[in-house]
């Protein structure tokens, strides 16, 4: 009986561990407002708002149109999910002051220069 209880507890613990492992890391360090360092597509800067609840807004200043994402943190990288299921990876640097967005939609160890948008943290936002 004790053995069964032990095995049951171990299995339950294992499953809980697997579930928790899928929950990702805290978003708090990266939540806030960001602005692209360079103008995008000749139409002004991109403003990026990362909320702690996992929502993100991407706004191209001149067009006024806001694109919504969901985001999470894994292994120190930010994962943006589009509604269609595509993923954009953002790599933080300088303690989270800069974010490099890989616009290829693929994962690369470093952000490809010609398809990379670098964002700089600006005050405000995040909640």
């Amino acid at each position: 009986m004790k053995t069964r209880f032990l095995i049951g507890t171990m299995l339950l613990g294992l499953l809980c561990g697997l579930f928790l492992a899928g929950c990702g890391e805290s978003r708090t360090p990266y939540a806030g407002n960001y602005r692209s360092m360079e103008p995008y597509a000749g139409k002004g800067h991109v403003e990026l708002e990362l909320k702690e609840n996992g929502e993100a807004n991407w706004k191209l200043a001149d067009s006024g149109k806001t694109i919504k994402f969901k985001w999470r943190v894994e292994n120190g990288r930010l994962w943006f999910y589009t509604k269609e299921g595509a993923i954009i990876h953002l790599t933080p640097s300088e303690g989270g002051k800069l974010l490099s967005a890989d616009m290829t939609g693929q994962w690369h160890p470093s952000c490809p220069k010609d398809k990379c948008i670098t964002f700089q943290r600006v005050p405000g936002g995040g909640s």
Binding site: G22, W79, E84, G85, T104, G105, W107
Partner: protein, 475 residues
Amino acid sequence: MTEPNNQSDKLKLEQVGKEVTIPRGVCVVRQGDPPVHFYVVTSGKLKVFRETHDGIRTDLTELGPGDYFGEVALITGKPRTASVEAAEESVLLEIGKEEFDSVLDQNPRLARQIIHSLAQWLVDGDQRLEKETVHQVKLRQISWFDYLLILGLSLVLGLVFNIYNDNQIPLVYSVHTAAGVEAIPLDKAKELFKDNQAVFVDARKANFYEKEHIKGSLNLPLLFFDLQYPMFQFTLDQKQVPKDMPLVVYGGTTSRRFDIELANLLEGKNQRKIYILAGDYKGWKTAFPLEEHKVKEMPAMPLGMSGYIEWIPVGIFILILIPPVRRSPYLSAVCRLILGIIFVDFALSKIMRPAVFALNVVEYGMMPAWGVNLWALVLPWGELVAGLFLILGIRTRAAATIIGGMNIIFIIGLVNAIFQGLPITCGCVGEAGEPVNWWKVLKNTGMLVMALQIFFYDRLFVLDRGGFIWRERKI
């Protein structure tokens, strides 16, 4: 191994034997040993058991004061048929073979009693054998209900979870028609191309575009339309493309017509004349000059624990070379645990965001468009349910069959992707950064072998059919 019921017989035995004290845990006789003594239990408790060469122990009975054992081997002259171990400190009356034979010669009543007991033991043995055979047959039985249970549960859970999931996707992806977009026949499009009278736009993801595209075409991936449309416009302006020059959209797959959807979105922008390439979605590959690039090997993203666990099934190829290990039910139990953990892990990485997995399915280009979302919704739940069934020992043969079936599908998909040189990620356990290569095929083959091992040899630590009862090997 029975109980004498006559006080005078007992007295006779006691006259010839000598008392021995056996400490707890000590084996009095061992299965296979030559017969030397007959024993009568004076006090204490002993366990009788048999053990196979690969270590499977079957507890037969327990003996207490007044019971005796060792008579079978003495009468037949053959090695001990079972082992007897003291469950607590016990005092036994030890009688040698010659003394035992002379007691039987002088005491026909005791001899009859022993014959009666042996006959009863044989009858009981037959009944136990029948019960165990029925049990084993039931255990190996596999019915359609088992499959229906696992597949039905997966379907119901997948569909119900999708209703409450924030990242909900439609059950069936509706193939859009290019409403209001004019389809342009290949020959006419070729004329426009030849005269440089149109801009060709590839709607697929950047990695597919890089591998192969119509010479001079631009890439505007449907999946990043909102994000990349401003840059697309900027590029057209930079290239000084006349405002009245039409766009010809191409690039679909069996699983999703990116071209049709992109054409609709561009039409909605109402800025240029939009055409969609008519006919077969891959007709452009033979009709136009192409720019081709060798597919770069996808960079691998560290997958952490999941990445390491995935390697374990490769070890099965060594284990199955050792025949006793290959057939061991203990190996089945280990395979069940490993395979169960892997498939639960696979499932958890896909369940929350079915749209991401659906795109992975699309990239393999093997699933018809109507089936992509259903597959993306149900498969992860199938992995989870079958994985949990394996871990918990429920309907393990059916669960192993389903997991083996999934492995076959995965292997076919992976081999097809490798031979076609598709620039895709596996979508097996991670959402990104999982290269498709022969290692993945080997890992999946290892899992398939594990599933087969479970199917043929699993019989320990299972919850039995007909009720969730832990199956003990006591007969």
